[in-house]
Point group: C2
Chain length 319, copies 2
């Protein structure tokens, strides 16, 4: 078996771990910086770990691509793989910790007006006290109860919110930090009693535009929205409108319909909108990178033993 690994941010210890696992299953590994560096004798590799987009599109020999991201919307379009039976796995589960910390950070920055304080400090101004809101007694709704939503809920629970409600397709979750879990059909009811809406949804036909203007309108006065899933889930124009008119307390977006956010987008200057450049989760955190590599190695054993991949993506569902 031949495996190509796109090095990305991998450190020596990670390459060692991958090599050791490959040896166990009798596979040969080739580490490259870029797809164009794949040597001739690895062009027919069976497995690729990394965003091997060109390989996926052109190699009929490829049987499994593992991507180091949670989002896979770029790879699930019909016809994307030259080999239509190619397996796709992702690294959903590696990003929960870092993205949950992002959600807590931006939520508190909004609730405590810390961006305004920071702007004052940059200008040498010792500002007046600003109105503070709190996660204590806050009604939190988590739309999308995957690894990110659950890891966030565990942390948020310690802040003594009034409740945390999970919303997902099945209406079920084992995570005990949710006071209640409801189906997506019940979203409208839940939004009416939501002070903080956290969105961690994959991009699928079902989630596109799920937070429409009609739904934004249901949120109570002063509510906050945090989106770390995919930008397509929110009607950005409506969101900007309800931020500008003061209905919403604030929004923190890490993801956008178009990324990078175009220079001409009005979102850059929208009131009470905290923008981050799709950086809630990245591979600079050792924990995330280690977990990512561990997950690939775990599945490499599964793959070579003919077992189902643990982190497989259902390409039809899109996650």
């Amino acid at each position: 078996m031949k495996i190509v690994v796109l090095k990305g941010m991998l450190k020596e210890s990670h390459e060692k771990k991958i090599e050791d696992t490959a040896e166990k299953v009798g596979a040969k590994v080739c580490f490259v910086k870029d797809e164009k560096d794949i040597p001739e004798d690895f062009k027919d590799a069976e497995v690729i770990y990394g965003f091997g987009i060109n390989t996926a599109k052109t190699s009929k020999a490829l049987k499994w691509m593992c991507v180091p991201s949670a989002g896979v919307d770029a790879f699930v379009e019909p016809g994307f793989f030259a080999n239509d039976d190619c397996l796709l796995s992702n690294s959903s589960g590696a990003y929960g910790v870092t993205i949950a910390e992002h959600i807590i950070a931006v939520t508190l920055m909004m609730m405590r007006k810390l961006t305004y304080t920071y702007e004052e400090i940059l200008n040498g101004v010792w500002g007046l006290p600003k109105p503070q809101k709190s996660l204590k007694d806050c009604r939190i709704t988590v739309l999308g109860t995957g690894d990110i939503g659950r890891t966030f809920a565990k942390r948020a629970k310690a802040f003594e919110p009034e409740n945390i409600i999970g919303v997902c397709r099945s209406g079920k979750s084992d995570e005990e930090s949710f006071d209640r879990v409801v189906k997506i059909e019940d979203l409208e009811e839940v939004l009416k009693e939501t002070d903080l809406l956290v969105m961690s949804l994959p991009d699928t036909p079902e989630t596109k535009g799920i937070l429409s203007e009609d739904k934004i309108k249901l949120l109570p006065e002063g509510a906050y929205i945090v989106n770390v899933g995919r930008g397509s889930a929110i009607d950005e124009i409506a969101l900007a409108k309800y931020l500008e008119n003061g209905k919403l307390g604030g929004a923190a977006l890490d993801v956008f319909v178009n990324e990078p956010l175009p220079k001409e987008s009005p979102l850059w200057k929208t009131k009470n909108l905290l923008i981050t450049p799709h950086n809630a989760g990245n591979l600079t955190l050792d924990y995330t990178l280690n977990k990512n590599v561990d997950m690939f190695c775990e599945d490499l054993l599964n793959y070579s033993n003919g077992l189902l991949l643990k982190y497989i993506v259902d390409r039809k569902k899109g996650y």
Copy 2:
């Protein structure tokens, strides 16, 4: 019994609660905006709720002053009260929630480079991924295990740190979120294994300059410091030095030796220093204000029944 209440941020509901409690104990209450508005027949009031500094300094009739802050260093100097037997109580216990959220917020802002990201966004720049650190697996030391330190520790625990060590005079605490509690004498040992040092100490002779240059040097490379207690606890010049030379990962100060921070202070421009204008806890948060009033009313019942005040300050100890 006559009571003067300085209104500050009190709402109608709070005044009602105070009036109801006063009625129970047969006291008369006078609400004023400012000490200079105290009417003639309340100048000999027995109790004042608020920063009644002039009254404390001049009225021999005053027997109890309750201040709506946790810090009391301004009121414990010998000779401060015209009536040397005057009782002093504070509102330590009302600020834990809001200040704990501040500590989490500024810690994550530093660990995730969110101030740099925000500056880029203000300039219309969609920046590159920045190196992230995490509370997960972090070694946290909490210097000062009062209400603020304990409330922070409870929240921090949910982020799965490697450990949380409390440091206080007695070396003891009931708070289960601390993996270990040690005495101040053991601080040096603990600092060597501290990635995040949270300081929530009152200003007393013992705490002045407790984080000296020698102690800062003991911290591991890349450590973070958050101070929400009193500015006098840190050698600010040494702190700035170890931020500028990159030994420390960052520091977030809400309190300073001189406040407001003087225009000419080099701290304004110190690298990786996140300044907030003594605003970690303020009375704008409903929860904090409600709790503050509840505490005063609770002690008003105690006072009128000749019981010990629950929130009494030991003026000799200074907290």
